[in-house]
Amino acid sequence: MKILVPIKRVPDPELKVKLRDGAIDLSGASWVVNTFDEYAVETALRLRENGATNESHGEVVVVTIGPEEAGQQLRSTLAMGADRAIRIDGEDKALDSRLVANLLAKLIADEKPDLIVMGKQAVDGDANQVGQMLAGKLGWPQATFAATVELAGDKGSLTVGREVDAGVEYKKVTLPAVLTVDLRIVAPGSVVNNISPAGHLYGTGEGGPRYASLKGIMAAKKKPMDVKKLSDFDVDTTLATRELSVTLPPARAAGQKVADVPTLVKKLVEEAKAL
């Protein structure tokens, strides 16, 4: 089984947002792998390995579209356990969801993976578009916002638990398919591949993506990373969606601490007229 994981680098979401000339100031940004994409890498690794023996049953290829420095984020996913990386040279400003989906569709025609696993959205743009666009472009089924996934014993399909407004929907998709993951996918028992022993758990509590081991970091340095150019792909690079400006929303006025519950209820009734 061959799994392709597209990843995006994002400015560290823990750091305060600053603006410069009507755009996000990225001059001093600290770049990290988008959280959901890191979870996608974890999902791909869990899908193709025997969790008890660490034996690998397939290939995980990570890909990003970004400048040379984005190679660092690819390298960190190689250190987690992905097998090889592809970087398509490009600048964020010259990309939008449609172009990224079109580029990935072309790459997929060459790579012929059985499955695409990606984050449901990037935590900078919060668009939540590329996975669905890619599936539509390829004519593949899509299972978005996955909280759980089970790979069938014959490796021909996935059954995906999706947290939807009505509850949890279990959607079955035949491969090849596009899977986009939500946060709960990294819980200890969220990924079942019928290769690991039944009931295998990754860690405890809320789980999480694996850390790169020292051995993994050393091994990552020797793993292949291909670099391609936008012009290697026959796609229209015109942007469909362009960012005109960025502003900071007004801060919420500071509220008041009230002494006790009767005072609170009095204020909710008389001041806020909320009760």
């Binding site: 989906a101 539509g136 089924p141 407004d165 009505a166 509220g255 006790d260 209820v265």
Partner: protein
């Protein structure tokens, strides 16, 4: 000039509350595009919901077929894309629900169109404002393709009012249906008598500090007293205290009720992104330094064990005096 194709979800014979926000956006977009709003209802029971939908727009198009009984992006997207063309739509829109978020990017790819997700404001015919970076910034975007695809943040658009007259209803052909290898195995739904979280006027939410699911009972008592929906922080849903669909936040549901109670919720950025549009926010937390107090209109520093039962008693007194 172009029309606005508004994909609307329905429940039984009526539109979902979430769909009414989409229609408020659609009417504004119709003015900006010099066209009319066309409501699109797809799936089992679409024809049955048409009469009530027709009170909101001049035209309603329904598509029913046995193979469309359960929503699938794979079968719905080609229908939406085809009808957008047939009805001269320059905008295709839906509310950013779990269906809207799943469906519209796929429609966009079929139409090779640009898309703006989860928008908060319409600035011009093809310019929109939308929150980015977990709501810490607002991005203004422009779409330059002939058709624009938009999902609408429910909390930013008030529900549309019904119009005086009823619009025309037509049934459209489903065309060839191909699920492309997708099917629904089963749905585990959590039925509740409480209002929907995203459209409730009051929300009572609990966080990690509630410690376990049993302790949420007192919050549910408060919620039922106020006719409120239940919410929770990611910490509480991830710990399995309460159902995942109670989660409020960047990765859960975005809510903006009149009144939001945040109980034993510290106020992580990703939670604030989901509720800071609420009109009045009340925080109850034993940690006076908790970030939730920075967005709360009214804060009580104290334990939920003491404050919530007192709150229930006080509200009962107020209700009894009316």
């Amino acid at each position: 000039m172009g029309n606005i194709l508004a994909f609307c979800e329905f429940d039984g014979a009526t539109l979902r509350a979430s769909a009414l926000s989409n229609l408020t956006f659609a009417r504004a977009a119709a003015t900006a595009h010099g066209g009319e709003v066309i409501i699109l209802l797809v799936g089992a029971g679409a024809a049955g919901a048409a009469a009530s939908a027709a009170t909101y727009a001049g035209k309603v198009v329904t598509v029913e077929h046995a193979d469309l009984a359960h929503y699938l992006a794979e079968t719905y997207a080609p229908i939406v894309a085809r009808l957008a063309g047939e009805h001269g739509a320059t905008v295709v829109c839906a509310t950013a629900t779990s269906v809207g978020k799943d469906l519209l990017p796929r429609v966009a790819s079929l139409l090779d169109a640009g898309m703006a997700s989860d928008i908060a404001k319409l600035d011009a015919a093809n310019q929109f404002e939308r929150p980015i970076l977990a709501g810490n910034a607002t991005s203004k975007v422009e779409i330059s393709t002939p058709t624009l695809i938009v999902t609408v943040r429910q909390s930013e658009f008030p529900p549309a009012e019904a119009l005086g007259a009823s619009g025309a209803v037509t049934a459209a052909d489903a065309g060839a249906i191909d699920a492309q290898g997708a099917s629904i195995d089963r749905v585990e739904s959590q039925k509740s008598d409480r209002p929907e979280l995203t459209s409730a006027k009051v929300v009572v939410a609990g966080g990690r500090g509630m410690q376990n699911g049993e302790n949420f009972k007192v919050l549910e008592e408060l919620a039922d007293l106020l006719g409120a929906a239940m919410g929770a922080s990611r910490a509480a849903t991830d710990a399995g205290m309460v159902p995942a669909d109670w989660q409020v936040g960047q990765t859960g549901k975005i809510v903006a009720p009149n009144l939001y109670f945040a109980v034993a919720i510290s106020g992580a950025i990703q939670h604030l992104a989901g509720m800071k549009g609420s009109k009045t926010i009340v925080a109850i937390n034993k940690d006076p330094e908790a970030p939730i107090f920075q967005v709360a209109d009214y804060g009580i520093v104290g334990t939920w064990e003491k404050a919530v039962p007192e709150l229930i008693a006080e509200i009962k007194k107020v209700k009894a005096s009316r």
